[in-house]
């Protein structure tokens, strides 16, 4: 049996990767231990969130599935940070844990060139440092490229208090041999940990004591085509709960029983979603911590307690949950647990997500040390695109830090590595004003089209939008507001009855109190484009100064980015490099000076030495 591409693992990374290679036209097999677990959401029932929501938009712009599937399956959606600037707005949807995987599976089943196979991968077959196939329990399948997206299943161990089970989420079989095999092939294996909170029976909660959290009253979509699949008036509710003194006392009294504090775990957990015992130990002065109750699905009664993840034994968990107001009589359907798993050191990856050691072997998702569905899916689509490009002999798609959160994510992973599960945050992106929710298609559609994931028809729509944006910008520079056409309403708003100048609308829009809708309502501006075009133009005008500033920074980055470091550079020859920097550079082998600059442990002085060396040794052709 032969496939061009085999994807191992049916989680969020695997789904995107397999869908991408198959859509591009490569014969693809997606191997999963259990077809029922395709696109499973073992942790929180939501897609998106700060920064993560923009990753979903980026995936959609590239032609991936997560956005559209979330649009079709969520039960509540809201725009986070809506009161802040456009750069940090990001969608979060409560995804239905039954519907989301179901729609994903259907979509994959309907994808041409894609076969889903159930099985456990026992071995990777490598010849001359090039991957040629995999061994399942009973058969061998050959391939040209292999994408590993095994999530948390590598030697996973579930921890609740001082007990542990050698299995994956939902009691699924773990993969026992794969990480040993990877180690044998030369991979550095990390041990990571993450956790998930309790699920409570909806019928046992006293909602009258809780504060409701509702979805937004306007329509939002992850998909760039703005197709709506939900009724905004029929959204499910979430609820707010707080920990209290009693909860804190229970936790403090039982700390040594926690798997993490009792020393029963060895993996390193994420700082960004700490367990509740972590939060209470680290923030002693906090009187209460906020928790969210989120429904997992419309089709069953599990309510997820966001923020309450713990590895306490079950008797302590009972007490903890019952100490919360409104949950005094709550019935716990699933106890919180921590999970430990093996991952590879992402420093062993190229920015294309191909491994440095084994040719045509790609990895994506939690196996690379990340946390989160969105982070996984973002890597998945890039691994898929690049596996296809590799097989076709094309240059890989490497998204730059000024182009996409996915670019930031992968660059961070392969340049800085990670010691804990990596979660995307807006603060990780230095050019976030350019990486907005609203311009994902303008940033990335072209790459999706070039890769073969976006149809000509969809791409033309984008070109038309781009064109309209430019036309509108030109028109606004032409059209003027004068004392003759200004309206009473506008005069009132700008509080200037002696308006006597003539100013073009472009500049007029820079006034904080003026917006495009007002100009349209007052018939100063004719309405002829889509809402997205107006929104885009308004942001470009209102934040022009700030955007220019970031573009200037981007220019600096691109200049450094253009300084390529020769692949065969011998760092041992650069005598004056500090030994830590030398060791890091040898390990990571950055492609450009810009990437070298981002390596922790390579300080400005080291960079200068490297730059001087490059100038001296390769000066003529590189600089």
């Amino acid at each position: 049996m032969f496939y061009d591409v085999i994807v191992v693992g049916g989680g969020h990374a695997g789904c995107e990767a397999a869908h991408a290679t198959a859509t591009i036209g490569l014969k693809t097999a997606l191997i999963t231990a259990n077809i029922k677990n395709i696109a499973d959401m073992p942790c929180n029932p939501s897609i998106g969130g700060t920064a993560k929501g923009i990753i979903v938009r980026d995936i959609d712009a590239l032609g991936g599935l997560m956005g559209i599937v979330a649009d079709k399956s969520h039960i509540q959606i809201k725009m986070l940070n809506n009161g802040k600037g456009p750069a940090v707005r990001s969608l979060r949807a409560q995804a239905d844990k039954i519907t989301y995987p179901k729609i994903m599976l259907e979509t994959l089943k309907n994808t041409k060139n894609l076969t889903i196979i159930e099985g456990m991968v026992e071995d990777i077959i490598v010849e001359n440092n090039k991957v040629v196939g995999i061994k399942l329990e009973e058969k061998i399948i050959n391939c040209s490229a292999l994408i590993l997206t095994t999530g948390t299943y590598l030697k996973s161990k579930i921890l609740i208090g001082n007990t542990n089970k050698l299995e994956g989420p939902h009691g699924e079989k773990r993969s026992n041999h794969l990480s040993d095999r990877l180690k044998e092939l030369g991979f550095d294996i990390l041990r990571l940990k993450t956790g998930t909170p309790q699920r409570i029976d909806r019928n046992s909660i006293d909602f009258s004591k809780l504060k409701e959290e509702t979805g937004d009253d306007v329509y939002w979509t992850f998909n760039c085509e703005n197709e709506i699949y939900y009724d905004k008036d029929k959204q499910a509710k979430c609820y707010l709960v707080y920990t209290n003194e009693k909860t804190h006392k229970i936790i403090n009294d039982n700390l040594e029983k926690s798997a993490m504090y009792g020393g029963y775990a060895e993996g390193i957990g994420p700082r960004y979603c700490p367990s509740i015992e972590d939060k209470i130990v680290r923030f002693k002065d906090k009187e209460r911590h906020q928790l969210f109750l989120e429904p997992e699905s419309l089709y069953y009664d599990d309510i997820y307690i966001q923020g309450f993840s713990t590895s306490m034994p079950i008797d302590v968990q009972e007490k903890m949950v019952h100490s919360l107001e409104g949950l005094e009589n709550a019935k716990i359907l699933k106890y919180a647990y921590a999970i430990e798993y093996d991952a590879i050191n992402p420093l062993q990856l190229k920015p294309s997500l191909e491994t440095k050691i084994i040719e045509n072997l790609f990895t994506a998702g939690q196996i690379n040390g990340t946390s989160g569905y969105e982070e996984a899916a973002g890597q998945g689509i890039i691994a898929g695109i690049n596996a296809a490009k590799k097989l076709k002999g094309k240059e890989p798609l490497i998204l730059k830090r000024n182009e996409s959160y996915i670019g930031v994510l992968i660059d961070d992973l392969v340049t800085k590595g990670t010691k804990e599960p990596y979660r995307m945050l807006t603060s990780r992106a230095e050019f976030r004003l350019l990486l907005r929710h609203d311009n994902a298609d303008l940033r990335l559609r072209k790459y999706g089209y070039e890769a073969g994931l976006i149809t000509k028809e969809k791409y033309n729509k984008l070109l038309e939008k781009e064109n309209n944006i430019n036309k509108l910008l030109d028109e606004l520079k032409e059209l003027k507001i004068t004392k003759n056409n200004i309206t009473k309403n506008i005069l009132n708003i700008i509080k200037d009855n002696n308006f006597n100048t003539s100013i073009n609308l472009y500049d007029f829009l820079k006034r904080p109190e003026i917006n495009i809708n007002l100009l349209i309502d007052e018939n100063i501006l004719e309405k002829k484009y889509t809402k997205e075009v107006y929104d885009q133009v308004e942001i470009l005008i209102k934040y022009e100064g700030y955007i220019k500033k970031e573009l200037k920074e981007v220019e600096k980055l691109l200049k450094l980015e253009s300084k390529k470091i020769p692949k065969d550079i011998d760092y041992d020859k650069i005598i004056n490099l500090a030994s830590e920097a030398k060791q890091k550079l040898k390990e990571i082998r950055p492609l450009t000076l810009a990437q070298a600059a981002r390596i922790s442990g390579v300080n400005p002085a080291d960079l200068s030495i490297l730059a001087i060396y490059l100038k001296k040794e390769y000066g003529k052709d590189e600089h």
């Binding site: 802040k84 906020q290 603060s427 500033k549 004056n576 080291d606 030495i609 001087i612």
Partner: protein, 451 residues
Amino acid sequence: MEDTICAVSTAMGVGAISIIRVSGNDSIKIVNKIFNGIDLQTVDTHTIHYGFIVDNNSKIDEVLVTVMKAPRTYTKEDIIEINCHGGISSTNKVLELLLLNGCRLAEPGEFTKRAFLNGRIDLIEAESVGDLINSETDKKRKLSLNGVTGNISKLINKIRETLLSINANIEVNIDYPEYEDIEVLTNKEIKPKILKVKEDLEKLLKESQNGKIIKNGIDVAIVGKPNVGKSSLLNTLLGNDKAIVTNIAGTTRDIVEGKIILNGIVLNLIDTAGIRDTEDIIEKIGVDKSKKIIEQADLVILVLNYNEKITKKELDLINELKNKNLIVYINKTDLEKQIDVDKIDCKNIVYGNTLNVENLEELKNKIVEIFNLEQIETSDFTYLSNSRQISLVKNAKKSLDNVLLGIENGIEVDMLSIDIKECIDYLGEIIGASYKEELLDEIFKNFCLGK
């Protein structure tokens, strides 16, 4: 970078001993080749050895050799210092031998550049070392030393930390918008914090102005009509204070007629008469050259004649110089009073007669008063001492002005953080916390040889 470099690190011709410094991987090996004494390859680090520098078998000089092994050295490389006792010609001979045996002559500032590149010192320290070497007065030396010990770095770091914590708070608010646990920073709360930082930067700039005065002295332009007594004023000043230097052609200044030291501060006296051969300076005020001198001067002394009516052009000049440090020196008080003093809009008027030395004290006291020279003497020096650093602080301050402007316009906090970050970057550039290619060459080319 792998070359082993050498240079004479003491001033040539001054003092009985000169020190040649050698730095690089091969420094021990190379010196050992020309050293007659203990085998330097076998000695411990930071030890001194007696012997001779030899050329084949002939003794060149009797020396003490200090061996300092990496990394605990100035450049973090192996360093050897050779104390030569034999005067200029034998020092030069030793240097020549080193060059013949595989050393390269160090470029100006190359030792310090290596110290910086090897992470031994930060940028401010590197710049200060350069200043230290070139310092002429005690005050200047004190200022340079202050930089070396990292006082400025500490201050800049403190300011950066304040800004970083504001931005960190903004970031947390963005990433965890729904958590009430974290203080939500709003424009209203950011404003006083930014104002405070701005104040700190303004204070630093003001103090740095003093630093500049200590380092570069005060440029004093003496202007006035012909025959009003400019030259005699200049000569009296110089004569009484024993001019250190005369007629140095500068690159930025046109002519420095002489330097005197006042309260430990150098006054660079510039006589505009030097560029005005025949015509009246006041008539030539439109001429760029004269204007430039006056513009760049820290202090202008306008000399008027007690014995003549004040002209319109003189009054215009006084008006033009309203925002500058100006002293009107009314000369020739021994003659009959013709001048109408009431018309002069200037609070610093000094009467005098250049023939009378006591009157000059009053002029000097005025200068001390204007520049607060008494105070400079006693205050501690946390100054930025060069124009690169000062202009970066000015840029940093400009970023903060943009933050404040954004606050006025109701711009969202996450946008404000862009300007705050810009400010952090500018400050980072001062202490070398960011990489910039052009920067390094610029700084190190100003260094003297041997450091």
